[in-house]
């Protein structure tokens, strides 16, 4: 009885969605439900699909760290012979073999959001170094020359973390600010708080903090509030998530950098349709970044 039940569940699980050959698939890193970023990627992709009159299906592993689940998803998509895959790889190295397999099966592939390592695959996404430089530029214009600033890095083992760390550092140093601390807080709000506590203990004259994502920047805000230093220190984040937008409107965080996730989804689908039609596309397509301050933060809540 138990075996039958289990077998039934297994078969039912296998019989879920199978896609037609003119379906374009967007493989995201994480589920769109509740994560505004991925929800916007999904919406952008769907809207572009409707505009072009093609079917768009969006898949994602249950969590951004679930590399294995994403590999399985892509393998299954290849087996179904979909028309094209726009993939945000959870781990570029781990996903490289399946991307090669898709290409070998004649399925067009582009990377969205996160660049993979496969040669000759177009990357469509935010230029994180440019975005971080935008934040750095804002800090430069609004802080006195020679001020001490700190960078909260994301995971520097990822390309996004690296690009934001390097882009911000270059921008801040080039315009004459003094970077006195660069530490990782692993994209995490609680770690952003702890790391900032340590930074302001060692560098009491700090005037600005760049958080490589808003979670860490919001952690920094909490640390500065507790130290009664928030009015002396400018905090700039990255992502312009709803919490950050609220904080900017409340006068706590000063600015953030918004990506254009709708473009990531939309441009991704467009590129696949172009590839399928035999057109050539640029190797890198920048989807753009926007500085978010008190003036426009209301749009990002």
């Amino acid at each position: 009885m138990k075996t039958l039940l289990l077998a039934g569940i297994a078969i039912a699980a296998m019989c879920t969605a199978s896609y037609a050959a003119d379906t374009y698939v967007v493989g995201m890193k994480g589920p769109g439900a509740g994560n505004p970023f991925w929800a916007a990627v999904e919406a952008g992709a769907k809207a572009k699909g409707a505009e072009l009159g093609v079917d768009v299906v969006v898949v994602a592993p249950p969590a951004e760290s679930d590399v294995q689940a994403q590999i399985t998803q892509i393998e299954d998509l290849i087996a179904q012979g979909v028309a094209g895959i726009a993939l945000a790889p959870t781990d570029p190295n781990a996903l490289a073999p399946v991307v090669d397999a898709a290409k070998a099966a004649g399925i067009p592939v582009v990377f969205i959001d996160t660049q993979g390592i496969n040669e000759g695959v177009t990357f469509i996404g935010t230029n994180n170094a440019v975005g971080a430089a935008l934040a750095a530029d804002y800090m430069c214009k609004n802080l006195p020359q020679g001020s001490e600033v700190a960078i909260l890095q994301g995971l520097v083992s990822q390309s996004t973390g690296q690009a934001r760390a390097e882009g911000s550092k270059k921008g801040l140093t080039d315009c004459g600010l003094k970077v006195v601390a660069e530490q990782t807080a692993e994209w995490d709000r609680a770690k952003g708080l702890s790391v900032t506590e340590n930074i302001i203990t060692g560098n009491p004259n700090i005037k600005g903090i760049f958080g490589s994502n808003d979670n860490m920047a919001l952690g920094a805000v909490e640390a500065l509030k507790a130290a009664a230093k928030l009015q002396d220190v400018m905090v700039v984040g990255f992502d312009a998530n709803p919490d950050a937008a609220k904080s900017i409107l409340a006068g706590e965080m000063t600015a953030s950098v918004a990506q254009a996730p709708e473009n990531i989804g939309g441009f991704g689908v467009q590129a696949l349709v172009d590839l399928k039609a035999g057109k050539t596309i640029e190797p890198v397509i920048d989807t753009g970044t926007v500085l978010v301050t008190k003036e426009n933060a209301a749009d990002y809540q």
Partner: protein
Amino acid sequence: MPGSNPRLAKFLDSYGIVLVVVVMMLVLAAIKPEIFLKADNLTNILKQNASLALLALGMFVVIVTAGIDLSVGSTMGLAMVALAIASRAGVPWPLVLLVGPAIGLIVGWVNGIGLTWLRLPHPFIMTLGTLNIARGLTYLITNGAPVSGLQPEVRYLGQAYYGLGLAPPAGLPASLILVAICAIGLWFFLNKTSMGRHIFAIGGNPQAARVSGINVDKVLVIVYMICGCFAGLSGLLLAGRTDSGFPNAGIGVELDAIAAVIIGGASFFGGRGTVLGVLAGVLIMGILRNGLNINNVSAFWQQILIGMVIIIAVYIDVLRRQAATRH
């Protein structure tokens, strides 16, 4: 040396671990006196490790019974988002304060029931299950998005501190007082009540405990509920500190909690360990991280060093056991 001075040996056995903390502090004070000894920095160490201390105290009770609870990090995350949602929904703050511990008690009860009624072979399995279930629930009820902006009263325990005339942000964190109350309460419970003695007895020799009439199943359920309750409280601290219930909170901290308990001298085979040792274990990890941070040692090295400390601490435990059996 053992045997030559039994009093000294006993003292070292009980308080040796505290000496390690003192030595570490002296070393750091010698290397970086201008930063390490600053009141801000010492405050940082205390408040950054308060939630780990609560997790470790709960984990300690479980490890005394030769068990393990892998679900505490997920329980903490679930408690954080649940209390954040309750706080945002305008639930009166005294009730919001109870949400975290209540969630912890429920997860702990499920763990205990799974272990004793389902007769799963090892708590590793049941709590591995609830690790996933609680984390999944956390994502489910938040849709993966953080829930931020809590009532000030809810944040109090996690965020407030008493200045004592020091310049902010230095001071005595409210979270430290909660940790102290929990630690003293737990010490009293484990050492001065019959239930506490039963917990140690089960860890030392479950068969003997059963034969001597202890209701082992009942005690185990209570043990896992205590552990869960501490995890929920720890979530209350972290949510207060960060002003947010974020669904990724507490991923992997169960391993930090286990490490702190083991470094603090509790035996993985149950029946042995002290509350003081656990707190020392937490401080050793906290001071090690802080010392490496203020000396600008990379986070990657910190992980390597903490790994080595775990191995060395348990090796010392092995040596101590060998010495004990030779007598």
